[in-house]
Homo-oligomer: 477 residues x 2
């Protein structure tokens, strides 16, 4: 572990004096080895899995990958090594000298002195074949092995980088990170698509119910974040959320990740949209800069044209239209929709996709939705005769809705009346309390993290951007 | 939002020329305002909640807090402001000039030009009283409001900093972050204390079971991380885990957070313990350096003496003893234990606490536990007649077990035999697969995040270091 640091230290000491042959080789990652600018015979040890073997008359070429980067390290060995043992998928430890490569394909290669097979790979049973590009649908059958392929390796490294970038974005902007609960007695959206949680039947608890009340898996951390924004002003959460939707679509999962933020003393959708756009762009730029090769692989082999589409999104200001304008645009469209667009009706995916196209494939904020369509906590615009709330959705090319957000109703009496009408006053007394003790105007949003990755990388199916997808009829491992 | 940046920009432009009175005041956080080194009449706007009001003959002192730091900003107003409106708990927006404070208690104060009450606080109903220090048990009754107190504010800011520090620790060491699943069809420990997940009764799914098979909330991400360590070499996860334990103790929650890491090509417990110790110490140092005031509050008012205890832990090398040695120490103890120490029996909390004390209150690794006590995936030491596995627990003062880890059984035939004996071969075929296709020696660990916070801050009850605690008979909000 701590390979990067060890490498640096090892190489520093190597460069000052010639390395004696008996000195123990410094353990380096493939990424570390490939990053050496002017290789000069440093003795190193590399461990990883064989991605390819090519045997020539006098020389043997191996490519060894350890997941630290998309690229593998080329190992050059003389014919004294037995190539039969060195098979695709096997794990190896190679010791040798890092030297400048004569080939243009790489800067450095490893001249092997010792190659040890750590674990063999049963090639007949291994579901991935050497030099074959397997479709993503095929890989999905092997959730325990697919991360060893180039594509899933790249996607998951990007996912890791994006996760770090999102944490940094909020930290740098002064937000406090909050772990909102997974198990909750609340039902944020008033939706019915919940998972219920109970102790497994193996357990005997004296009471009928472990928590005394019915509890569910969270559909959003928003209400809990609102609690925290009343203390820390700016807060965010980044965790799993759940929907028991009976959907097999390429856009839905039963378990997915949401990035949610809540901001106190925020009075306009304009200010909220600025944070949303900034989060989208800053994270994308960080990912593009930190793992260009991984992004390039997706843009090249999975989604040709996505590179340009992404650049187009990043260099343009996102657009803003009102829901009312959106409905007008849809009504005037020459396209026939399955659901006829009409003021007061929900926007469907077909509508969202049309709107984005209409806006020149630039992400577009749709604001001020009909009050009747939205949950109780959204702030009333006090307009009419068609009443709206200060809600905002961000629609993006290829995906549709990526963010949802709103100003929250901070006025006690407005909220009290809406809750009373819904018969929820008692259940949400604690939420009303937040408006009784130093209430402030505030707003927030949630971004679907998997959809964000789909949007950046151009991956069509949401099941391919999460390590272990859970959806109707499927919970492998 | 982006207050820190805005402040810097605003102040830079302010310092170059005298600020005209009509210029709009720059919005700054309390932390930002307090950080200004030489205040010189900069016009700013601060928003937050009133923590105290003190009215003198000609002048009014307010303390305004926005959660960006433990400290509040002192606002000085002349008697023309109506102090009746300015009550404890109310939210306010104050505009004025940042000036050097004549008092030694703070560097700067805000000379108010305009104070606007944003939201009143119903003082009679508000459960926290001005100038009163409420016990943590009392605060626990108000999960929606307790974050507004000094103690919970500090604890949750520390939690946020520690979260960021842990992400940085792993990123800097080359680990890939993995979101291991919450819903799983696995039962990692073979333990019975699971929560089961089903669609809420409101939903009608054609099939009896949403996922076709029984599914549970995860008790550990380890097995899923092992999948990923076979591709990325070094991986970590940091997410919620669950136990349906019927426990009301100060050390257990039904929902808590675990930091877990898995490392390929790792061959000794020594190397694993080095990462564990480094994670413990690096994170603590970062927290101490980034939020000294928050830590100080806990050490001063909640856990006197904890400052010294923590320093003692950080400056000493952690100790290592074997399970067999531990049992010998316990047998020779003059103390009477509820559970008689004996080779082959589990170590209980009373034993763990004795061992730590015996080791001079330095965290101690206990290694090589009896095979029969540990799960199937731990690596056999091939010793005897008393068979052990390469397991390690880290015991820390005041808490007991903080980390648990092991080398994993990477040898196909050893693992196959153990699974066969347990009748688990079929269920864990995928796990066996990982040993069939390029197996490597590897190991990993998990750290209870809440226990870690308890250990750093000296907080006695685990319910006080998590935003929304869930435990038997309690799932508030």
């Amino acid at each position: 572990m701590f390979r990067a640091r060890c490498l640096l230290r090892a190489l520093r000491s190597c460069s000052s004096a010639p390395c004696p042959r008996h000195r123990p080789a410094a353990r380096v990652s493939v990424r570390g080895a490939l990053g050496v600018q002017s290789a000069n015979g440093e003795r190193v040890k590399v461990q990883g899995w064989i991605r390819s073997v090519r045997s020539q008359k006098e020389v043997l070429f191996l490519h060894v990958n350890d997941g630290s980067s998309l690229e593998s390290l080329q190992v050059v060995a003389d014919s004294s090594f037995d190539s039969r043992e060195l098979a695709f998928g096997s794990s190896v430890e190679v010791q040798g000298q890092l030297v400048k490569s004569p080939s243009k394909k790489q800067n450095v290669e490893l001249k092997a002195e010792k190659i040890e097979v750590v674990g063999n790979c049963d090639a007949k049973a291994f579901p991935f074949k050497y030099k074959e590009r397997h479709p993503l649908e095929y890989l999905r059958q092997y959730p325990h092995l697919r991360c060893r392929t180039n594509v899933l390796g790249s996607v998951l490294r990007v996912r890791s980088e994006a996760t770090a970038a999102i944490h940094s974005f909020f930290k740098d902007s002064g937000f406090v990170h909050i772990h909102t609960p997974v198990i909750t007695s609340n039902d944020c959206e008033g939706a019915g698509e919940l998972f219920q949680v109970e102790p497994s039947s193996k357990i005997k608890v004296p009471e009928e119910n472990f928590f005394n009340i019915p509890v569910f898996l969270t559909v959003s951390g928003q209400l809990h974040l609102e609690v925290m924004s009343g203390a820390f002003t700016q807060v965010f959460t980044f965790g799993p959320t759940f929907r028991a939707e009976n959907s097999q679509s390429r856009r839905h999962l039963a378990e997915f990740y949401m990035v949610e933020a809540e901001i106190s003393f925020l009075e306009s959708l304009q200010d909220l949209m600025q944070v949303m756009e900034s989060l989208f762009k800053t994270t994308a730029m960080t990912v593009l800069s930190n793992c260009p090769k991984d992004v390039e692989l997706c843009h090249k082999f999975i989604a040709p044209g996505q590179k340009d589409r992404l650049e187009h999104m990043l260099k343009n200001n996102f657009l803003i239209i009102s829901y009312t304008e959106a409905v007008e645009i849809l009504k005037q469209a020459s396209q026939n929709f399955t659901f006829t667009p009409e003021w007061g009706a929900d926007l469907h995916t077909e509508h969202e996709k049309y709107l984005v196209k209409h806006c020149g494939d630039i992400p577009v904020f749709v604001i001020n939705y009909p009050l009747a369509l939205k949950p109780f906590y959204m702030r009333e615009n006090e307009d009419g005769p068609q009443h709206t709330v200060a809600a905002v959705d961000l629609l993006v090319p290829g995906i549709g809705e990526l963010f949802g957000g709103s100003l929250r109703e901070e006025r006690y009496h407005f909220l009290e009346q809406r809750l009373a009408r819904l018969g929820l006053t008692e259940a949400y007394q604690w939420y009303l309390d937040l408006r009784r003790f130093g209430s402030v105007p505030h707003g927030g949003f949630g971004m679907g993290f998997e959809r964000y990755l789909q949007c950046i990388l151009g991956i069509d199916n949401i099941k391919d951007v999460i390590p272990f997808p859970r959806f109707t009829h499927s919970c492998l491992l």
